[in-house]
Subunit: 382 residues, 2 copies
């Protein structure tokens, strides 16, 4: 018999990752067309996508909000906000408790933008009182930046409480909501968000190719002349959308066609509430199933999101993550490695076109793989 | 009868543009899958794409060449080369004769990189003797940058002769070959190319989502610490490919799947020679057909590429470009507006999954639209 892993399969492997995700077939089928990036029909589609993103977030242009799309991954979107919107005299306080917070620090270092990194432990949300103290002491800080759901662990930071402090101190508030936007409700007014970044291939369940920034128009318009990069000039991008209806430079046309379809399916599912509900059920199914197998989540339930969950690696010496990963892949399930430096973990995402039944099948596959590896179930933990 | 334009059509409109292009159905069908961006199967695909890009260009890693892919449009790739590879003390001489040369100047201004713009008229290729004189006089210039095929007009710059001069003066040579790479032969050794940029949605006939840079590894490795942007750090991107086989940040996975298929179809067509031959025939069919209708190309034949052709707008007062464009669109043909500031032109691209028969049908449609508009054929020119 030919090695099963090398024979083409009837269906794609399911992605239990923080994105790119498993998407619906209909989202992918929307890409079976070539659109002219200068053409009025495509411009209409882009305008619709921008409107619907605002509406998804409960925002309107009339109330002063804009959605600006930018080519590249989510990281490009976050960096574009910093490169465009922090004045030469600005200083950013980054609240970091994971790899994505650290990435913000790295961006600011590259761009030679003044910043201060406030670090919390990777299993601990940022404390609004600490921020209050920092902003009281450091009058140079003009911007506060935080990651909503740190996919390093799946932890949620309290963006509403942190935002209230930021507002009280009259600083600009930048939220990286890459993996939460669309699935965890975000009240822009209560959070006092000024700039929020997410991307096409997260909870809206589109394909990768662009990020988007939801922001207050008046704040963006004040950033004239700050941008340190042409490609990452968010204001230039916005002004071109306004003037011509087009992307400034070649857009990922197929990713936009897919995203339009993804938005329709998002609305069909009941918007943020419906999508979040499914992910919540996925997460519950995962915790229940993994719990039966003896796995322990890394985070306390109180700070854990339903987006992605980090689990401790079992203590059993017969367990090897590489073999575990490969064997699950052979069975059609792709999970995600850990990203923590000090603790051995692996991660399982519960977003994308996945349902509780898929999670249950994954758990069954994990049980079978553990047995193949000779690990006792429930697994021994440290 | 319902207005035909609003009824869904049996096939997509054909794109006679400089890209995004009309691609084959099989290239688009390759996107009907979701790939894990961290997964070893996807890494193998990315490694294969990088190898095949080098091979397409007649280069090898053994001889010191690398292919680095970067998320975003072609502009992101060009800017990444400048932002990463020009040292703080560097100075770039940009040879501009169109919008894309001017865009390079704009990028350098944003990044506060010293530069000098050498401008030629938009219908005139850059003169190697002028470059020789400039480099003799200005010892501060460290890099020379030029656009191979300026799609503003379709003009070809003599990258081999300009490269010889650049080599003689021992400066670094950056070539934007966005719309020529893959269809016009480029001899890297004879041209003395150090960095060449192109993108997925041009002559390889993939879909938009990433650009790529072909460069000398040793030169790239010398750029440690220069990058002014994290997202556009080409060296960081390269080092991550080498270390992990992965993109640093989320790649446009579907665009990569499409590109792998596009490379196979490119090889099947006979590589650069085969692809170039088809485009050449497309261009010949276009010139013949448009000539019969009385249209005059903007450029002299000697400097005109077979990539895209600018035509003068007819003098007939009944001719309106907007109506012409819309009526052609209604018939399923999307052409491209002009980009020249001083002369009224429009453009027709002859790249993408188009054949001479498609060009002939476009010409027939143009004839019919002229008649609808009441313009006499052959059209009156200024």
């Amino acid at each position: 018999m030919i090695e099963p892993a090398s024979l083409p399969k009837a269906k794609d492997k399911l992605l239990f990752t923080p994105g790119p995700l498993t998407t619906s077939l209909s989202v992918k089928q929307a890409m079976l067309h070539d659109a002219g990036s200068w053409h009025f029909e495509f411009n209409t589609l882009v305008a619709g996508v921008r409107e619907r993103l605002l509406s998804l977030a409960g925002l309107t242009r009339e109330a002063g909000w804009e959605a600006v799309l930018l080519q590249g991954s989510g990281t490009f979107g976050v960096e574009a906000v910093f490169q465009t919107c922090v004045p030469p005299t600005g200083k950013v306080a980054v609240l970091a408790n994971g790899a994505y917070g650290e990435r913000m620090v790295q961006m600011l270092r590259y761009a030679k933008i003044a910043h201060t990194a406030v670090r919390a432990a990777e299993d601990t949300p940022h404390d609004p009182e600490d921020l209050d103290e920092l902003l009281g002491k450091d009058q140079e800080v003009t911007h506060v930046a935080v990651v909503h759901c740190e996919t390093t662990t799946g932890i949620l930071n309290p963006i509403e409480a942190l935002g209230r402090i930021t507002q009280t101190h009259r600083r600009i508030y930048v939220v990286d909501a890459m993996s939460s936007f669309g699935a965890i409700p975000i009240d822009f007014a209560r959070c006092g968000v000024d700039f929020l970044i997410s991307s096409a291939n997260k909870c809206v369940e589109g394909v990768p190719g662009f990020s988007f920034v939801l922001c207050r128009r008046a704040l963006l318009m004040k950033c004239e002349g700050y941008a340190r990069s042409l490609s990452l000039d968010l204001l230039g991008q916005f002004k071109t959308f306004e003037k011509t209806g087009q992307f400034r430079y070649t857009p990922p046309t197929h990713a936009l066609l897919a995203f339009e379809q993804a938005l329709s399916e998002f609305e069909l599912e009941g918007g943020v509430a419906g999508r979040g509900d499914r992910y919540h059920h996925n997460h519950q199914a995962l915790l229940a199933g993994m719990g039966e197998l003896g796995f322990q989540p890394y985070l306390d339930a109180a700070v854990q999101s339903y987006i992605i969950t980090a689990f401790h690696t079992p203590a059993d010496p017969r367990f090897s993550f590489d073999a575990f990963y490969r064997k699950l892949s052979d069975r059609g399930y792709i999970i995600y490695p850990g990203k923590l430096t000090e603790v051995d973990t692996f991660r399982i995402g519960t977003i994308g076109r996945l349902f509780p039944a898929d999670i249950e099948q994954l758990v069954q596959a994990i049980r079978a793989v553990l047995s193949e590896m000779g690990c006792a179930v429930p697994v021994a933990m440290r």
